[in-house]
Each structure stands twice: as C-alpha cells, then as structure tokens.
Symmetry: C2
Subunit: 373 residues, 2 copies
C-alpha cells in the first residue's frame, strides 16, 4: 500500500480538470492544490498555525537547503522535519536537483551525481540520487521527489534528450533506495524540455516504473506561458489517470487555472511568498504593489473580497507603512494574504469543477484579474 494515493472524485466534462483527494500519512488534501514553499523548514514569515488558518494542508520544503543547513541528520535526530518545524500537515520535499543545477559554474554533473559548492560557505558538496533519497528519508517527508536534472531552457534536442535519459537512469536508482513505503511515496519527474517526442519517450520510461505520483518538470524555467501550456497539452495525457500530477514551480493565478484545466492536480511556487515580502499583493483585481505611493492613505483592506487575517484587520496604508519601514510584521501580513488568496482561488477552482463551471469561472476570474483571454 502506497503512502500517498489520489482518489478522483470527479472528472470535468469540458476540460481535463479533475477533482480529487490526496491521501497522505499527514492528512487528506483536496485537489487541485497549491502548496506553499517552506524552503528552510519554515514558510517564510508565517507560523504553522497561520498556514492552517490560511487553509494549507501540504507544504513543500527543500532538500538542498536543509541538507546544507542544519543538515538532515540533525533533523532526523529531532524526530523528522514535521516535528522539527511543528507542522503536522503533509510535506513534499524536492530532491535538491533543481537547486544544484541552478548553481551554474559552481557544479559539475557526472553519471554518479552532482558535485557542487555550497552557496553558504563555498564548501565542496555532493548530491546523487542515492544521497537525495537518504536525505529525504531522514527528513521524513510524505512525498519524496526523484533526483532529476531540470533541463534548462533553451536546450538543444540533443541535450534535452541526454538529460532526460539521465533523469530516468537516476530515477531507477532513486527507486532502488526508496522502495515505496507506507510512510513515504516517491514521485517521478518527467523531463524532455519543450520537445514533444522527448516528453513522450520520457513519460513512457518514467511511468513504467509505476510510481505513486508524477511531476512535470522543466517548465516555468524561462519559456513563455504559451509554450508551457502547449507542453502541458501534450504531456499531461501521457501520465496515468489514477496518479497525482504535479506541475513544479508554478504559482501565478492564471497558470494555476490553466494548469488545472490541462489536468494538473498539484502546484508549488515561491511566487506568493516572495512577492509578498517585496510588497506586492495578489488580489481578485490583479497584482497591487502595496509599496507604491498611491496606497499611502488608502485605508481599505488589500482585497475587500478576501477573508484573511490581514484583510480583516489592516489597511493598505498600514501595510505600506510597515513595508516602507522594513518591518517584519509587514512581511507576515502580506504573506498571509497572498497565500490565502491562492488557497481561495484553488477552493473556487474545486467548487467550479464540482459544479461543471470551470471554463466560466476561468473567464470571470481572468476578466476581474485583468488578463486578456
């Protein structure tokens, strides 16, 4: 019995969207779902209680960062990541692959794994499929991501092909270490760049391993949204219907809706938390740069339609003041709002699927938000 399982409640008739329940050792999560990112064993600026109040039931944490600091052995000694950070909801950990590949000149890829220099102290480090599994096993995350190469964009067909093939070889090594247990589930990642033939070939090889879930990697890496949607159009149908599908690194409201319509169940992105700390709010009426002078004496809430703690208790003027003064509480209030906003959007998406109104919801949302469709 796999640790993580997707129950599909309903399939949309006019789109590829699915309504489901992701069953994990740390709770049942309604899908489609957006997962806030807690890179360093904390979702920046908010508490576990606030995450729950926001409606988050699953978060993502980063193997690369925790491996380097404080170290997975320490977290294992603490009783695992859930206990260490006081979060009893579900946790998905990435593999560290994306981060080490992002290091550019500071890393060297071999068949064995990736040698790299720590961004913290320049020390020589090494990650491999086996080590990534060992780290994630020590962390005790509910969902363990395979150690892959996130193919850069742009890439030649030849590079993308070699990279995707290595990802499959590495996936097999991951699987041999983390045999699916009742505690942790290994998700494979489909690569292949922006090439349909490679995605097809890669998806076939990856899904043959019969894993409890699959991610679509290598998207949201610099390509246009049109290209991303096109890749999703032909890649998602290559994944088995009865397994969760996770689109990595996507979190803008428009891309969430477009992803769901193409059959994606899970998303994560630093966008809502990062732009919050930079002073930008996601609202029903588009992105508001609360730091801007126009909000200096605006005593309305960030989004009058929002039910979050921030919108119920504080004005745009107060938030702008906190942001200008670089006050920690401002980062918290903005983060709470942005995360809650995406939870509301996902909740509305689920509601729309259940009522067979997803295309109508999309049209209305985009009109309010100010997108051209």
């Amino acid at each position: 019995m796999a640790a993580v399982k997707l129950e599909i409640i309903k399939k949309d008739t006019r789109t590829k969207a699915r309504l489901g329940r992701l069953i994990t050792p740390h709770g049942v999560i309604d899908t489609p779902v957006f997962m806030p990112v807690g890179t360093q064993a904390t979702v920046k600026a908010v508490s576990p209680e606030e995450l729950k109040e926001i409606g988050a039931k699953i978060i993502l944490s980063n193997t690369y960062h925790l491996f380097l600091r404080p170290g997975h052995n320490l977290i294992e000694k603490a009783g695992g990541l859930h206990k260490f950070m006081n979060w009893d909801g579900a946790i998905l950990t990435d593999s560290g692959g994306f981060q080490v590949f992002s290091l550019g000149d500071l890393r060297k890829i071999t068949e064995e794994g990736v040698e790299f220099r720590s961004h913290l102290d320049g020390s020589k480090q090494f990650l491999s499929p086996e080590l990534s599994m060992q780290v994630q096993m020590a962390l005790g995350s509910d969902i363990v991501m395979a150690f892959d190469e996130c193919t850069p964009y742009p890439a030649t067909h030849e590079y993308a092909e070699q990279s995707a093939k290595r990802t499959v070889r590495w996936l097999k090594r991951c699987k041999s270490i983390l045999t699916t247990t009742e505690r942790q589930a290994l998700f494979g990642i489909v690569q292949g760049g922006m090439f349909e033939d490679l995605r097809k070939e890669n998806a076939k090889e990856v899904t043959e391993l019969d894993l409890p879930g699959y991610a679509i990697g290598g998207l949201s890496v610099g390509e246009t949204k049109e290209i991303m949607y096109e890749v999703l159009d032909y890649t998602v149908p290559l994944l088995p219907e009865d397994r969760p599908r996770y689109l990595m690194g996507v979190g803008s409201p428009d891309a969430l809706i477009e992803g769901v319509m193409r059959g994606v169940d899970m998303f994560d992105c630093v966008l809502p938390t990062r732009i919050a700390r930079n002073g930008s709010a996601l609202t029903r009426f588009g992105k508001l740069v609360i730091r801007n002078a126009e909000f200096a004496d605006d005593f309305n809430p960030v989004d009058p339609t929002c039910d979050c703690y921030t919108c119920k208790n504080y004005s745009r003027a107060y938030l702008r003041h906190l942001l200008k003064a670089d006050e920690i509480f401002g980062h918290r209030l903005m983060t709470i709002h942005n995360l809650r906003f995406l939870q509301i959007v996902m909740q509305e998406i689920r509601q729309a699927i259940s009522e067979d109104k997803l295309p109508e919801y999309r049209r209305r949302f985009f009109a309010d938000y100010g997108y051209d469709i």
Copy 2:
C-alpha cells in the same frame, strides 16, 4: 477626571514596592508593569494578538519615528494609532525628545525646540514641546510624555542644571497644549542627571504641575547600575505616592526587580525585543545565546519553565537553525519568548508583593539567574 489614574492596592512593608492598577481609556493594567516597545506602530516581529497572549496590556510607541514616517496626520486620518495598528490595549508614546537628542551633530537645540535632520532622508525637521504634543494628540495615545531633554551622561553639574531647567520650561509649554483630558494623560519627566540636588529641585518643579503621572528620565544612559539605583533611591521618594512612576528605558530582569523595590511602577525597553532578534533569550537561568553552536542539537525548549508559544512548540535547535538562516519566523519566536519571560517576571513580582515576599523573590531570582547579590 484624568484619563489615567493609579489605584494602589498594596504597599510593600519592607521595600518601597507598590502593587497597583493603572486605569486607562484602553484597559486596566496591573502594576508594576513592563511595556514592550513598538517603535514604528508595530512591536517588531509580533502581532497584537500575540502581545495579548503574552500578557501585554500596554505598549510604548515612538513619536519621533511616527512623526517622520508615516506622519501623524496620516495616522490621525486612519483613526489614531490604536486603530491604525489594530491594538486596542493602552499606548504610551514618548515625546521624540530622546531620539532627536540622540542624533548628536545632526540636531541643534534652541529654547524654541530642536532642529534636526531626519535619519531617513536627511531632510530638515523641527520638534518642539508644542509640536510633540500635537503629534501625540494626533496619535491618540493614552499616555503622552512631555518633550524633555534626556540629559546625557556624563554631564557637568552646570549642564545638567540648565538642561533640567529647560525641561521644566518645556513641560509647562506641553501642559498648556495638552490640558489633561479624559482621553489622554500627560506625564512629566524628572531630569537632573546623577546629581541629587538637581533631581530634588527638578522633581519639586515638575510635581508642582500636578500631572497624572511622572517619569524618571536620564537613567540607563551609560551610567553603572549602582549609580542608577542610587539615583532611584533618592529620586523616587520625591514623587507623589498616588501617581504612577515610570522609569524610562529599563528592561533587564535585574533592573526591573531593583526598580520595583525602589517604588517604580512602569518600565519600557527595547532590550527583550532587540536581543531576541540578535539571537539571545532571557531565561530563568540567565541569558542564553541561542545562536551559539552549543545549541545546535539541543532539543529542549528555550526555557523549560516558560509557558510561551515558543517554548511549548519549538526547540533551541530549531530556533538556532532559523536564526542562522536569518528566517523571519525565528525573530518572531525569540521575541515572543523574551516578552513573555518579562511578563512572567513582572507577574511573579506582583505576586511576591502581594504575599510580602519580594526580597525573598529577588534573592531566589538572582540566584537562579546567576547574579551576585
């Protein structure tokens, strides 16, 4: 009827400590009390709800900072400082005097007031007794502090005398603007440096104005604690018994206890919040530098005797990780603990007074804390 009134419940028999209730337009506060500092309309890193959970019922905010940013007119337009920052407890605002005098070469004192350069943008600014009152009236704080000069240390007798006399002249101008109302109470500040004759003279002139409360200023400015206690020894008895006495800028646990024993009712200090963000925790067993390597794999709470959110849910190892990673949530957790610790100490002090055990409490506290007495 003054806006703020002290009801004395009990006077200690062996010390000058008093147990009381400070009645304000925003709640009744048990005294002796420590007031957390919320410089820029936020107690750094914590929410109003967290302050309440910690047990804080009155906070201090800074006229100088709010005058410069976002401006008192904006806060008045927002409905006052309480509403702006979502705090329905009591607020004491300082006068801005301490901050402008701290600017050194960037300020020029005249009889009229103080010209200074903003620390934010270097712009020319001016504060005077009248302006300080107008700012504090716009903020709507419950307790308004007189615009004084905090006499520097060391200072000559001549300088301290002139400075204290100007403080009295300024106090009279403050009083002529802020006639005590049912909404706001003006507290006078006794200066006079470390000179008994000047403190005596100044206290006489200040208390003749019959204000609802008095502060002892010009302490904790670089002198030894022995000198501070000596000044308190001869200054506190110069203040009327039936009015609250506020020792400005004091917040270390030892000085709180010593101040209470000398008859002080109110304290404020940035110490607990500032050292929290720097990674130091106040505990029953002394100050712990949680950032230190010795706590890397220490899974105990910061202070096992503490009932705060931080100590109930997180380990020293987790806090150290957050602090090393410069995570906002670490600052919050440390701040919650330090503020709660001082609230507990003040609560125990009040309990000890009520049970006629203050000297015994002091001895035990100092022994645990590691002070020589």
